[in-house]
């Protein structure tokens, strides 16, 4: 059911771990599936993300999207990182099955949450960044479209 890219990132996830004294940390979860993702960011004075690590309790897609998301934001500025949407993560993974779209939202939102934490700590306002919710899910209906 998963693409080869997903399986690769699931099997060999990039950037697993923690950062000591991170510039920002964000944890989000999906109460429905019970999964949790945590992102650690190390951001330098030029607002460039120098390092990123993650820890995830979740399904294969959750692990793969976390891993891919870290790769996509690493080396980017905070403003650029903000533009890494769940859609971008999914595309980079050659797609996800419909029931797994919400997993990629966790990845997007955990990055946002970490950026928010960073902004708060620094007393910055990052344009376009909203306070993250801790429970992330799409407005998914029980799939009923016949």
């Amino acid at each position: 059911m998963y693409s080869e890219k997903v399986m690769d990132h699931f099997e060999n996830p990039r950037n697993v771990g923690e950062i000591e004294n991170p510039s920002g940390v964000g944890t989000v979860g999906n109460a429905k599936c019970g999964d949790i993702m945590r992102m650690y960011l190390d951001i330098d004075e030029n607002h460039v993300i120098k390092d990123v690590k993650f820890k995830t309790f979740g399904c294969g897609a959750a692990v793969a999207t976390s891993s891919m998301a870290t790769e996509l934001v690493k080396g980017k500025t905070v403003e650029e990182a903000l533009k890494v949407t769940n859609k971008a993560v999914m595309d980079a993974l050659d797609g996800l099955p419909p029931v797994k779209v919400h997993c990629s939202l966790l990845a997007e939102e955990s990055i946002h949450a970490a950026l928010w934490d960073y902004a708060e700590k620094k007393g910055l306002t990052i344009e376009g960044l909203k306070k993250p919710k801790s429970d992330i899910h799409e407005d998914e209906e029980e799939e009923e479209e016949y």
């Binding site: 697993v16 309790f57 979740g58 294969g60």
Partner: protein, 387 residues
């Protein structure tokens, strides 16, 4: 991938090659419709009767009490819905449990939308119902008790004989979903006072797409699938002769080898359980330690999410499951694990390993060795786990 260790026999089993052998002539040679009058086809009626006899014998039932269906789900739907229909003069209350298969639970849902009241019995931490609670749930309007013989996830075997006695004492019909039990543990419909029983061919090395419902003589339920006069006018549809032959053959093989197989499987199962509980930290066994299906082991590992574990096992050639196959794709944790009192996040990390006749000690060792590594790896990635 070369190695394949299949430990998901509760999801489905390999059709035994001897069973396929028996089925084969009925596709392209003896393909007649058993309801036809000419001798070429009428012979298939006899073949069918032979299978009915085989199955009846394995249950201590009479041949004309066995009705062929397309599988366990149809049998369960039939038993519940047709009983509600046939006995509506008598009452509108059904008793079942919280840990039934969805074929029962969703049929019960459906009936609730149509004026039937349903009591869902709780189970204890092992998945066993409480007999007093059952007896207390009985009302003057109770028409049916439907309680599964053995649970498909955690393998717990319910006190069927005692339930049968209570049902009989109160003159209430007793249906049991024996899809996981039939062919694996001894069943006797008279000794256990069972009035209806569902089974499915592919769960005991028979083919998929065929099952049966045992209906005790005197139980007045009518058709669920209406149409032609097949199955003594109670189940329409051209008979699936190869499927029936296959299920009959599998029933015979299962009965003949049951004692030996159960011994072998339960020895290996216990070896598996012991190794896992000893060698993997934060692991627990779900289901009853002894009142369980010979081939079922079910574990929870804290800080572990099930899907990731399954995929990693798959990468090692190990077929296992978490929850039941037919709810995969759903994000909800197992209703069975919740019913035995596990919290949401722990219920998520469950692993079901169900052995088969071919499973060896080497297989089990390979699985446990890999599982240890996998659980360790996933935990290292988990934000919930600190060691």
């Amino acid at each position: 991938m070369n190695k394949l260790i299949y430990l998901d026999n509760a999801a489905t089993t390999k059709t035994d090659p001897r069973v396929v052998e028996e089925m084969l002539p009925y596709f392209s040679e003896k393909f007649g419709n058993p309801s036809s009058i000419y001798s070429f086809a009428a012979a298939n009626k006899e073949v069918e009767t032979k299978q009915r006899d085989r199955i009846a014998k394995s249950l201590g039932a009479k041949s004309n009490e066995i009705y062929f269906t397309a599988g366990g789900s149809e049998s369960d739907n039939w038993a519940l819905k047709a009983t509600a229909e046939a006995y509506k003069e008598k009452g509108n209350h059904i008793i079942t449990t919280k840990i039934e298969h969805h074929a029962i639970l969703h049929s019960a849902d459906y009936l609730e939308k149509h004026g039937i009241e349903v009591t869902y019995l709780d189970v204890d931490e092992y998945g066993l119902i409480d007999l007093d609670e059952l007896e207390n749930a009985i009302r003057p309007t109770t028409i049916l008790i439907s309680i599964m013989f053995a649970n498909n996830e955690i393998g717990t075997i319910e006190p069927i004989k005692e339930i049968g006695e209570i049902a009989k004492k109160h003159n209430i019909l007793f249906h049991t979903d024996a899809v996981q039990a039939y062919g694996h543990v001894p069943i006797h419909v008279d000794e256990m006072n069972i009035d209806m029983l569902s089974a499915s061919g592919h769960k005991f090395n028979g083919p998929k797409g065929i099952g049966f419902l045992y209906i005790r003589k005197g139980v007045k339920i009518r058709s669920f699938i209406h149409g032609g006069a097949q199955e003594r006018k109670r189940r329409a549809g051209t008979e699936n002769v190869p499927g029936i032959v296959g299920m009959g053959a599998a029933a015979k093989l299962a009965e003949d080898s049951m004692a030996e197989r159960a011994k072998q499987e339960s020895d290996l199962r216990d070896y598996l359980i012991n190794r896992v509980l000893k060698e993997i930290p934060y692991s627990r066994l779900n289901g009853h330690p002894t009142k369980r299906l010979p081939n079922n082991a079910n574990f929870c590992f804290r800080f572990i999410e099930g899907e990731g574990m399954l995929i990693r096992l798959d990468m090692k050639g190990i077929c296992a499951s978490s929850g039941s196959a037919c709810t995969s794709g759903s994000l909800d944790p197992s209703h069975v694990l919740l019913a035995i009192g596990l919290p949401h996040e722990i219920a998520h990390g469950s692993l079901r390993l169900t052995l088969g006749e071919d499973t060896t000690k080497e297989d089990i060792d390979y699985v446990v060795d890999n599982l240890k590594e996998i659980v360790k790896g996933i935990r290292e990635m988990s934000p919930l786990y600190e060691d």
